[in-house]
């Protein structure tokens, strides 16, 4: 295919077909390619030199992708899909892209079969009898769909473990399974908490602005009827701003009894409007925001459990927070951010690092809230080295380990007025 033959109908058609297959191939690899993209790609290809592989590559990449994280996948796909002739031939072999296409089509058909079988598989899994789960597990699943579900795409189910019913193996590192009945209650609590956090931000603005601002536009409109004399002054106040909340959760061994509850809580937070991000850590930190965007809590926890293998390891709060500061704080934290750290403060790392990392974090953020599940339990005082190191930088500490303590948190937030720095 060269520039000339492109102008012919056949040439055009075969190129479009090739692009569509390539785009679908990319989609199968996790890159979202829409029908609109195909159109744009064709337009772009008519502008460039088709015999120049590099130009072809750049053009396709600029149109089909929108994230550098996709580059590697794209490069591999591109390399295996498009065949370029060697020896300076003018034409590129678009009509028969590669054996890759045939393989892809075969794989796609296999995937489809597997997925059909798989959906039954998921049902089976939720029916797996566990001593702690009640018989109305099926009912709970249905309820979870209605409570949590808005139609969004199911993340691609990966890994044989899901299909063979070995899912239990990964999630058993999380002690217990998510309690879906409680999820609705948790969600309600979290709704209120987030509203409190947002209100705190708004109140701060009001208190600082002793003068009030005037809405000039409305003022003029209203006073036109008085022929130019300004009689009514219309004021305006600041809108409630959406909170920016960052949750950083300790999921190490000592936190095991609380992990599932904490993750359910995080899931609720993530469904709130505003910029909410979540992370989990034990010896290192991982961003979990994209996982919680899933409509099904089960699946979200599955994927997290599968991708984060450090559940029952030691705890390195300092190192994890330092990693967070390095990789994410610049883009995610600003003076209005509320950072919520959920941890028992029991650390096997260096307390000095905790102190340093917390200091850095405090410098950038507006408020740091520390939720300690052990707080309030008889005999516990926050005296571990880790906790002591973090204490000076914490604005507000509260217990959280179940629904009643979550309720308590909401009550406290309502009464207290968080003094942001």
């Amino acid at each position: 295919m060269n520039q000339e033959s492109l102008k012919s109908d056949d040439g055009h058609k075969s190129l479009i077909n090739a692009i569509i297959v390539f785009g679908t191939y990319l989609r199968g690899k996790g890159i979202p390619v829409s029908p609109e993209h195909f159109n744009q790609a064709m337009r772009a290809l008519t502008c460039i030199d088709l015999t120049d592989p590099q130009e072809f590559y750049i053009a396709l990449r600029a149109i089909l992708l929108d994230d550098p994280d996709q580059f590697r996948t794209f490069d591999e796909a591109f390399g295996s899909f498009w065949k370029w002739p060697s020896g300076g031939k003018e034409e590129i072999d678009i009509l028969r892209p590669a054996g890759a296409v045939n393989r892809f089509i075969t794989n796609r058909n296999n995937d489809r079969e597997r997925r059909q079988k798989g959906s039954k598989g998921v049902e089976q899994l939720t029916k797996l009898s566990e001593p702690t789960m009640q018989d109305d597990v099926k009912g709970a699943t249905v309820r979870s769909n209605s409570v949590l579900g808005h139609a969004s795409e199911l993340p691609p189910l990966q890994g044989k473990s899901l299909y063979s019913g070995k899912m239990v193996k990964t999630s058993s590192r999380l002690t217990g399974r998510p309690d879906l009945e409680k999820q609705a209650v948790i969600q309600r609590m979290v709704d209120k908490i987030v509203k409190q956090l947002a209100l705190n931000a708004a109140r701060r603005y009001k208190a600082a602005n002793h003068g009030q601002r005037y809405d000039l536009r409305k003022t003029i409109r209203i006073n036109l009827r008085y022929g130019g004399k300004i009689i009514n002054l219309i004021k305006k106040k600041r809108k409630l701003r959406k909170p920016r909340i960052i949750l950083i959760c300790d999921v190490s061994r000592s936190m095991e009894p609380f992990s599932v509850f904490v993750l359910q809580m995080v899931y609720s937070f993530q469904s709130e409007p505003g910029r909410i991000e979540s992370f989990i850590f034990s010896t290192m930190i991982k961003r979990t925001t994209p996982y919680f965007k899933c409509w099904n809590l089960h699946l979200a926890l599955e994927k997290i459990a599968a991708d984060f293998p450090y559940w029952s390891g030691g705890t390195r709060i300092g190192e994890s927070l330092a990693q967070f500061n390095r990789d994410h704080s610049q883009s995610l934290i600003n003076r209005r951010s509320v950072v919520v750290v959920v941890s028992d403060g029991l650390d096997t790392g260096d307390p000095q690092m905790i102190s340093q990392a917390m200091e850095r974090l405090a410098l950038r953020s507006g408020t740091i809230i520390w939720l300690n599940p052990l707080l309030g339990t008889p005999g516990y005082e926050p005296r571990s080295k880790g906790m002591l190191a973090a204490l000076p930088h914490i604005d507000f500490m509260a217990p959280v380990r179940d629904v009643s303590t979550l309720q308590g948190l909401e009550t406290i937030l309502r009464k207290e007025r968080l003094n942001t720095r």
Binding site: Q40, C47, D49, Q54, E55, A59, D66, I220, L224, S331
Partner: protein, 318 residues
Amino acid sequence: MIEGVKRTIELMEAEQYIVDRTTATSVFLAVEMKKPLLVEGYAGVGKTEIAKVLAAALNTRLIRLQCYEGLDVATTIYEWNYPKQILRLTIENDSKRSEREKEELIFSESFLLKRPLLESITELKKSPVLLIDEIDRADEEFEAFLLELLSDFQVTIPELGTIHAKHRPYVILTSNRTRALSDALKRRCVYLWMDYPDFKKELKILKTRIPRLNAYLAQQIVEFMQVIRRLPLNKTPGAAETVEWATSLMLLHADHLDPDLIVDTLGYIVKEHDDLLQLSRQRVLSILTELSKLEAGEACDGTILEEVAGFVMQEKVK
């Protein structure tokens, strides 16, 4: 390479902007297909400059909208000049004009403050370049009405009616990737990712921007910068920092790098206290030592330097 892309490279380099093939092709495609160009990348790699250079190359006006959270219609599209209106109303107090006439008077174009987005579609002579800088700092609501504008290029002002663009602007959006942009917006754009420059590009940038810079010093500077960028710094320096640093070194009449000189001028490349601590004199000395081993053709240790070694050697061979 198609003529268009070649021409794009020529035009941009004529404006002192060193451009690689990917950038030139993406810019060319955006202009040719009349789509907005979304440029993402770290700070200091030259995203904003693309717009300036494009405007100069096309010999047209650059209109810039700097984004921040809370942008709204009044700050981006238009606002009525309220003080002027009030003043006029007061003057007209005793005039014989009717209420209706007064209203028409104060809601006319001379009382309209045009903000960047409106300005960009009311250019009379030719299509301007509209730079929407740091769109990731604005919020989702702004993205939504920006999208509307980008599809129709028209704006409706209740008192004046609908204003259509006589010349559609070339739109360039930049983002620092501090948050994910909406899919709808990304789909509409041609996407360009700008990474930190590689050794070859950075050297070329220095040579173009500072022609009188000592060639040996330039090479040393770029080698050093390439190593620095691979360290775990809190704020990695971009190409802009390299140019500033080189200028300062030239002003100090340096013709080669030594540890004391570097430590004294670190403030040009590293802007955070913790990063400064990381680049102690000791560290700087060891980096320089390794780099000089590289130049002498000896083996050097450290994985960072091995990486740097690879392409430095390639360049030297050329």
